[in-house]
């Protein structure tokens, strides 16, 4: 049995409001996130002794360069290039650092800028396998990779486009109450189904909209949070896995299935005790893989699950309370933090939209890095209200 995260808390969730395109660089967005964290916690930059950064658009800079850029002198520093899993992995590592005394207050931030050509540039140079073996086949980017995955999933499970539509439509409903979401106009299932095709079977509302933005949280001991007068949540368990099930011909399951028993056992809980699920939702099919992989339903049963549940914040299975990336936009690596920051708000009673009443426990999941034909990183944390 792994050692727990007793006494480790997450506080000061910050979302720097997203913009479709930004004239500023990633440094600007990360700087604003850090500034927001310090303001929320009434700290100065000298009080931060740990920093963890994720970004795709820093150019040649890494977390090291940012210390000089931002005037920080941390004694613990990490850079986590894991896209949609970066929030989970950052929290997991920062928690251990604080637990071990290597740092007292760790700022975990992720952010990216977006210019009209940023997405193409990121796709074109994403990874060696992408360059060698994915990009030359139509250069459809992640849309194409997830189209293949969705195509295979539909034939394997009988999922229909309407099933994916339920996820997109319910998240748009959540976004209508979330002030930072870029797409807040109501979305109907008909609109979803009649949208133009992007990469069959994926249509416009299956795909996230790239944008600029940043997110961040602070990780510290519970006593520190109390001293600072901060609202906080407990980290109860965390898992991560990379390159799971490498011999599957196509990704019909993520790495969660390998580690979920650990996840629930550490937190001494079970799926039915989770009051809010925040999945990584770059495409609806990935939400289905998380529902299955995290044990909310059996393998291949997610289509039935979404038909049977109301996924809105106000529904019987609250899911992606901020509207997720499908409505909020995908601010690069910040997408890996989106579920985390809003889960902390919901658990501390500080929701920006509809508050889930009496929420005790949230599960936040991450998924990322289409290195070639599948997402390699998966992870999840269980957070508990104080």
């Amino acid at each position: 049995m792994r050692r727990g995260y007793d006494g480790i808390v997450v506080a000061a969730p910050v979302t720097v409001p997203y913009e479709r395109y930004s004239v500023h660089g990633a440094h600007h967005w990360l700087g604003r996130a850090l500034h927001g964290l310090l303001q929320a916690a009434h700290l100065t930059s000298q009080d931060l002794d740990g920093l963890c950064v994720s970004s795709f658009t820093l150019g040649s800079d890494t977390a090291v360069g940012l210390t000089q850029h931002f005037g920080l002198s941390p004694r613990w520093l990490d850079h986590i290039p894991m896209g949609g899993a970066c929030g989970i992995v950052a929290l997991r590592r920062a928690a251990r650092a604080v637990q071990a005394g290597d740092a007292d207050i760790v700022a975990c931030v992720a952010g990216d800028t977006n210019a009209p050509d940023s997405f193409r540039a990121t796709v074109a140079g994403f990874s060696r396998f992408t360059i060698d073996a994915a990009l030359p086949y139509g250069a459809g980017g992640p849309n194409a990779a997830f189209a293949l995955l969705t195509d295979a999933y539909m034939r394997a499970t009988g999922a229909r486009r309407e099933d994916f539509g339920r996820i997109a439509v319910s998240q748009r409903a959540n976004a209508s109450g979330f002030p930072h979401a870029l797409l807040r106009a109501p979305l109907s299932l008909d609109q979803y189904l009649s949208a133009r095709m992007v990469a069959d079977p994926l249509a416009l509302f299956d795909c996230v909209m790239p944008c600029a933005g940043a997110e961040g949280v602070l990780v510290m001991q519970e006593a520190t949070a109390k001293n600072l007068g901060l609202a906080y949540v407990h980290l109860r368990s965390a898992i991560e896995r990379h390159n799971a099930f490498p011999d599957d011909p196509i990704q019909l399951r993520g790495g969660w299935a390998m580690d979920r028993d650990d996840l629930y056992a550490m937190a001494a809980t079970s799926p039915d005790q989770i009051g809010l699920l925040q999945t990584y939702d770059d495409y609806p099919v990935i939400v289905m893989l998380q529902l299955e992989g995290l044990g909310f339903c059996g393998q291949g049963e997610a289509p039935d699950f979404v038909r049977a549940h109301d996924l809105r914040t106000t529904g019987d299975f609250p899911h992606n309370s901020s509207g997720g990336q499908l409505s909020g936009g995908q601010a690069g690596a910040a997408g890996g933090y989106l579920g985390l920051t809003d889960a902390v708000r919901q658990l501390t009673g500080a929701a920006l939209g509809p508050q889930i009443p009496g929420l005790q426990r949230a599960l936040v999941s991450g998924f990322g890095m289409i290195n070639y034909d599948r997402g390699l990183c998966s992870g999840a944390v269980i957070l508990e209200a104080a």
Binding site: F129, I131, G140, L148, P249
Partner: protein
């Protein structure tokens, strides 16, 4: 006369190529594709087939990964139609079908997918050169004799002469005449270059195609011919060159081969490249007949070896700049002509050459060897360049 309707007030489609950047390991796909082979890396230590190409074995981390022919069967796992692409070349060609294939040799490969392939069905894979000159995976129907013709999208990987206008540069030789005949039979319209028309030559009374004055040893003549037909030429098949055994006039030999190719490149290729993205039958290829002795020197033909090496180096050096045109080397051994009377077979005949050129254009190959001798020499070269140097 092949005519193509087009709107002259609209800018033609730009000559674009798909993404060309690859890791060094992945360039091995082009090596296999250029030979028409289906080869992937196989670990020398544990036998595991690798894909995408790697620097260490995915199963045992062995570093010796040899390119070996592997079974090309598989099952199409999933397919999609890319309708929105970030790449300018593919934006010209969307909607574009691609998919993922589980190969019988145990790897998963994204691939261009023939229109008749359905998910769940068996496919046969081929490696082809794309318009960037890189080796790419194609998933083709198992039962289709002419898969490269039966899906119009796959024309992007070929240079099918059907419906195209071809300049064959040297109609004075049996090789030029045979190539012209074969191309016409394959549906092309042929301009046949004739140098020094005042000087008679065999076959002059029964020439295929439309004769045009063209002397590749004369820059002015090439310029005049280019002015007349470069804007209407889709493929050039250059059969001029120097292929004789023994010693000779080196300057004249260089003029007839290297400089001839260089003049063609200067005066024709820019016009071809400008139309290499345009319409249903874009300009697509420059074929050069090159002695295999330019690749592996032949002690019996030192002059030809030197000048063919020069031409070969020129063609290969021009390739990146001339994409999306295909620059095809058609290697020939000893020609079946008067200059090689004293030498024993095998020799490359005009008919063999002509058929091989048509096949290469239809297949989209870029390095072909015509005849047993050239094939054998090319195989030796691929097997181990260094040994051929120390023959």
């Amino acid at each position: 006369m092949i005519r193509r309707p087009g709107n002259p007030t609209i800018l033609p489609a730009a000559p674009l190529a798909p993404p060309a950047v690859r890791s060094r390991a992945a360039r091995g796909l082009a090596v296999a594709a250029a030979q028409g082979r289906f080869a992937l890396q196989v670990c020398a230590a544990c036998g595991r087939t690798q894909y995408p190409p790697r620097d260490a074995c995915v199963a045992c981390l062995g570093a010796q990964l040899d390119w070996r022919d592997v079974p090309n069967g598989g099952v199409l796992t999933a397919a999609t139609i890319v309708r929105i692409s970030t790449d300018p070349y593919f934006r010209q060609h969307t909607p574009w079908r691609m998919g993922s294939v589980r190969l019988d040799c145990g790897v998963d490969a994204m691939a261009h997918v023939h229109g008749k392939c359905r998910p769940g069905a068996r496919v046969r894979m081929a490696l082809k050169l794309d318009k960037a000159g890189q080796g790419v995976m194609l998933a083709l129907p198992e039962a289709d004799a002419n898969p490269m013709q039966s899906d119009p999208k796959l024309r992007e990987f070929t240079c099918d002469p059907a419906g195209r206008r071809v300049l064959v540069t040297d109609g004075r030789t049996a090789f030029g005449q045979a190539a012209a005949r074969a191309l016409i039979a394959a549906g092309a319209e042929v301009f046949l270059g004739i140098a020094a028309a005042w000087n008679p030559f065999p076959g002059q009374n029964d020439l295929p195609g439309t004769p045009i004055a063209l002397d590749l040893t004369d820059g002015i003549s090439v310029q005049n011919a280019a002015a007349a037909i470069a804007a209407r030429t889709d493929i050039i098949v250059n059969t001029a060159g120097y292929f004789r055994p023994g010693a000779g006039d080196a300057r004249a030999a260089m003029d007839a081969s290297y400089f001839a190719a260089s003049r063609l490149a200067q005066m024709f290729l820019p016009a071809l490249r400008a139309r290499a993205g345009d319409g249903t039958h874009p300009a697509c290829a420059w074929v050069n007949m090159i002695g295999i002795n330019g690749l592996v020197p032949d002690p019996g033909a030192p002059l030809a070896s030197a000048v063919n090496a020069a031409t070969l180096a020129l063609v290969r050096a021009l390739r990146p700049e001339m994409r999306p045109l295909k620059l095809i080397n058609a290697f020939v051994g000893q020609l079946d002509d008067q200059w090689h009377q004293a030498l024993p077979p095998p020799k490359t005949s005009p008919t063999q050459f002509a058929q091989a050129v048509v096949a290469a254009l239809r297949n989209g190959d870029e390095e072909i060897a015509v005849g047993d001798l050239a094939r054998h020499t090319l195989a030796q070269w691929y097997d181990n360049h260094a040994i051929t140097l120390h023959a």
